[in-house]
């Protein structure tokens, strides 16, 4: 069990919506984030994402930019236009960037860009930072 997990035992369970069409990535994120005591929901397609995001009201979204033949960023922007809360942080997963965006937490930051492949633990830390603001 990672040290970080112990730190998060004291706080309320945050809801994370993982949006990725790859089964293995979804399983990895589910396992990792559950171990970090997050409540994890999964959307495996753009349709599921658009439907689920208003139902489960996540505290943070982990969104694969390449969602089948759809662009995750465009979908997110469309959701914002439909009234989705822009304060909900989003972690975009991408294969096109090189470095994991492990920048130090900044106040008010609502999104992060994380390159695949990523270190699950680092990603969990990034998510924690974003949720805690």
């Amino acid at each position: 069990m990672p040290n970080g997990l112990k730190k998060k035992e004291s706080r309320a369970r945050s809801k994370i919506l993982v949006v990725d069409d790859d089964w293995a990535i979804v399983e990895l994120l589910k396992f990792t984030l559950t171990s970090w005591d997050f409540e994890v929901s999964v959307a495996r397609s753009e349709e599921e994402f658009r439907r689920g995001v208003f139902e489960c009201r996540p505290d943070l979204i982990v969104l694969d930019i390449m969602l089948g033949d759809k662009n995750g960023v465009e979908t997110y922007q469309a959701l914002l236009n439909e009234g989705f809360d822009p304060k909900v942080p989003v972690v975009f997963l991408t294969v096109l960037a090189k470095d994991v965006s492990t920048t130090p937490p900044q106040p008010g930051r609502t999104f992060a860009l994380v390159a695949k492949p990523f270190d699950p633990e680092k990603l969990a830390k990034e998510i924690t930072c974003l949720i805690e603001g």
């Binding site: 790859d22 293995a24 990535i25 390449m66 096109l96 492949p117 990523f118 270190d119 699950p120 633990e121």
Partner: protein, 685 residues
């Protein structure tokens, strides 16, 4: 050059001023004759002997004669200038002439047949004794004869075909009057009186002389008088000698006779004087004419030579030169024209120029002629003409008027055969069309190829994105789960299991790096990556790089150092990409340098560039391999000296990155001694 014969008549045209003078003389003579007639009639009306006969001892001019002169003078006056009559038939003039001829004819009949027709007393009655008169009131048979022929001469004046008859009749009348005059001058009665018949009066003979001259000079534009009025040699000689030939002998004869009668000298002396003066005067006249004619002859020869030269030039011209009359009849045709049109000069001269015009261009010649007449000069006029064999040829015409005395008398044309030029132009045009067609086909092909390339490029971009995703997504899962396992999050493993998992992790990381480089290379290669231009402190960057790799080098007991020029220029480049290049070069150097080796990173300033050199004392690269090392997947050695793995793309990527920023990369290496990689980047100020 061949010139049409019909033009010969036009060469000796009468001089316009002489034509005018001759007409004036003619009109003056007619008026004089009318005046004489009237004066004599006045003499008859008022019985003035001096008007009827010049001297009392001379015969009178009969009233019929005076009337004849008035009528003949009037007729001549009316017939003097046919141009002024505007082609109206001169009925009055012809009527007068006819009456004159009738008077003469009837009187002659009276003499010949002994008739008395009463015409002699019709107007005036001559009474008493009349000097030199056989029948009172009847004119001399010589006078009657002269009126008869002068009457016909006047009538025939308007008929050019009867010119010879007119000249003959007038000459006879003139001869008769001159004879009569000489009779009076020299006192030879038989010259003005035939047998015992009525004599011709002195003023009658003079009036006939004037009338004859008047008739002769009334038509200076044709026949013999046209020559006299012309500027040619014959005209000049005639004008100079003819008056002298008449006047000089008469005058000399009169003087001789006068002197002889007055007892100044004997007949022999007088004859000698006459002969002498005749010789002197005629020799002088002839001498004067000889000089003038010689000058004219010289001028004429000069003109002929000039003409011959011009004709030679025209004949030797490569361009067809032709001329036509006003109505378009061809009258000159040079050899080039023969060559161009296929007609010889003999064949074509005298024919209308329209035979050269194709039937589909009717009216073209007339139109051109009208344009020239209106003062336009036809230059470089391109058209089509017909050869004798019916072949159509392209010609270029320059046409101009031929003028004489400021009047257009014909047209000249210079013809340039441009058929060959047209043929070549047509060939060029076709070739150009063919070329244009090919170019447009090629352009279309290129467009299609370009579209295909664009599609391929788009497909490549799509492929890169897809490949990145499809390769990296499973790698993410593998690396992620390995990290979870290795961190003990799913339970503990034996040491051997951990070691094997470590091997899997290393391989996965290498695979990940390979994918990264492959994608990077593809992106740069397809131009998808835009290099940034940021001011970069190269010295600082190099020092940082050396520090990063210092530990790795130390582990291999390799000395890593740097020589940085203090005055190193700041350059504009993509800092991250340059860092990638340096990472590649320094890590490669460490990879292929044995223990206790040396690696030196050096940066130098040049005028417009900076050079970075990464030099090692490694194993070096074979000469034949040096060219290949910048190509992708040239796995010259599969791994470094300590088994470090290589993706085979590092140097290819280095080359792409540096070239994308306008720089160049090179290698110098000796196998077993070491290698030096040189990166040159422009200073972009």
């Amino acid at each position: 050059m061949n010139v049409l014969d019909l033009s010969r008549d036009n060469l000796n045209l009468p001089e316009p001023h002489l034509i005018r003078s001759f007409r004036h003389i003619s009109q003056g003579a007619s008026i004089l004759v009318i005046i004489v007639g009237f004066l004599v009639l006045i003499g008859w009306v008022f019985d003035l002997p001096n008007l009827k006969s010049v001297l009392p001892r001379f015969v009178t001019m009969k009233a019929n004669t005076a009337i004849g002169f008035v009528l003949a003078g009037t007729s001549l006056f009316l017939l003097a200038d046919p141009m002024k009559r505007k082609n109206r038939t001169p009925w009055l003039a012809h009527g007068c002439s006819s009456v004159v001829a009738l008077i003469g004819g009837l009187t002659l009949c009276e003499y010949l047949f002994g008739w008395d027709l009463g015409i002699d007393r019709l107007v005036f009655q001559e009474t008493g004794e009349a000097v030199g008169t056989s029948v009172l009131g009847r004119m001399s048979p010589l006078t009657a004869f002269n009126f008869f022929i002068i009457g016909f001469a006047l009538i025939s004046l308007d008929f050019p075909s009867r010119d010879r008859i007119t000249y003959f009749l007038v000459s006879v009348a003139g001869f008769v009057s001159l004879t009569a005059f000489l009779g009076y001058a020299y006192g030879i009665k038989s010259f003005y009186g035939i047998a015992a018949q009525t004599e011709m009066a002195l003023h009658t003979s003079l009036a006939f002389g004037a009338l004859s001259l008047g008739v002769l000079f009334s038509r200076p534009d044709r026949g013999l008088m046209k020559i006299v009025a012309s500027d040619c040699v014959a005209g000049i000689v005639a004008r100079r000698l003819l008056p002298s030939a008449v006047v000089v002998p008469v005058a000399l004869g009169s003087l001789r006779l006068l002197g002889q009668r007055m007892g100044f000298y004997s007949m022999e002396f007088g004859l000698s004087l006459t002969v002498l003066f005749s010789v002197v005067i005629f020799v002088s006249l002839i001498g004067w004419n000889v000089v003038s004619l010689h000058r004219l002859d010289s001028e004429r020869k000069l003109s002929e030579q000039t003409l011959a030269r011009l004709a030679a030039i025209v004949d030797s011209s490569d361009e067809g030169i032709i001329s036509t009359t006003l109505d378009g009849t061809i009258f000159s045709w040079n050899k080039a024209a023969e060559r161009i049109y296929g007609y010889s000069a003999d064949e074509v001269i005298g024919l209308p120029v329209s035979i050269l015009v194709p039937p589909d261009r009717p009216g073209e010649i007339t139109d051109l002629m009208e344009r020239i007449k209106s003062g336009e000069r036809i230059q470089q006029y391109e058209t089509v003409r017909l050869r004798k064999d019916g072949q159509r040829i392209h010609v270029c015409l320059t046409a101009s008027p031929i003028k004489a005395d400021k009047k257009i008398i014909g047209f000249s044309g210079i013809i340039h055969d441009i058929s060959e030029q047209k043929r070549i132009e047509e060939m060029i045009r076709r070739t150009q069309e063919e070329l244009e067609r090919r170019v447009s086909e090629r352009t279309l092909d290129l467009q299609r190829a370009n579209e295909r390339l664009q599609r391929l490029d788009e497909m490549k971009s799509d492929f890169i994105a897809l490949a990145s995703h499809e390769l990296k997504t499973p790698l993410t899962a593998i690396e992620g789960f390995l990290a979870v396992i290795l961190k003990g999050m799913v339970g503990e493993f034996t040491d051997q299991q951990k070691e094997f998992l470590g091997v899997i992790k290393g391989a996965t990381e290498r695979l990940n790096r390979l994918v990264d480089e492959l994608l990077d290379f593809s992106k740069i290669d397809s131009g998808q990556v835009k290099m940034k231009r940021e001011p970069t402190d190269l010295g600082k960057l190099l020092k940082e790089e050396v520090i990063v790799f210092k530990m790795q080098a130390k582990n291999k007991e390799i000395e890593l150092g740097e020589i940085i020029d203090d005055r190193l220029n700041e350059i504009l480049c993509d800092r991250d990409r340059l860092k990638e290049v340096l990472d590649n070069l320094i890590s490669n150097a460490i990879k292929y340098t044995p223990k206790r080796g040396k690696i030196m990173v050096e940066a130098r300033n040049f005028e417009d560039s900076v050079q970075i050199e990464v030099r090692d004392t490694g194993i070096g690269i074979r000469v034949e391999d040096q060219e290949k090392i910048f190509e992708p997947f040239q796995h010259l050695r599969k791994s470094g000296l300590d088994g470090e793995k290589s993706t085979g793309l590092g140097l290819a990527l280095v080359k792409k990155i540096i070239e994308a920023q306008g720089g160049r990369v090179a290698v110098r290496s000796n196998e077993g001694v070491g290698s030096a990689f040189l990166v040159t980047l422009p200073i972009k100020r």
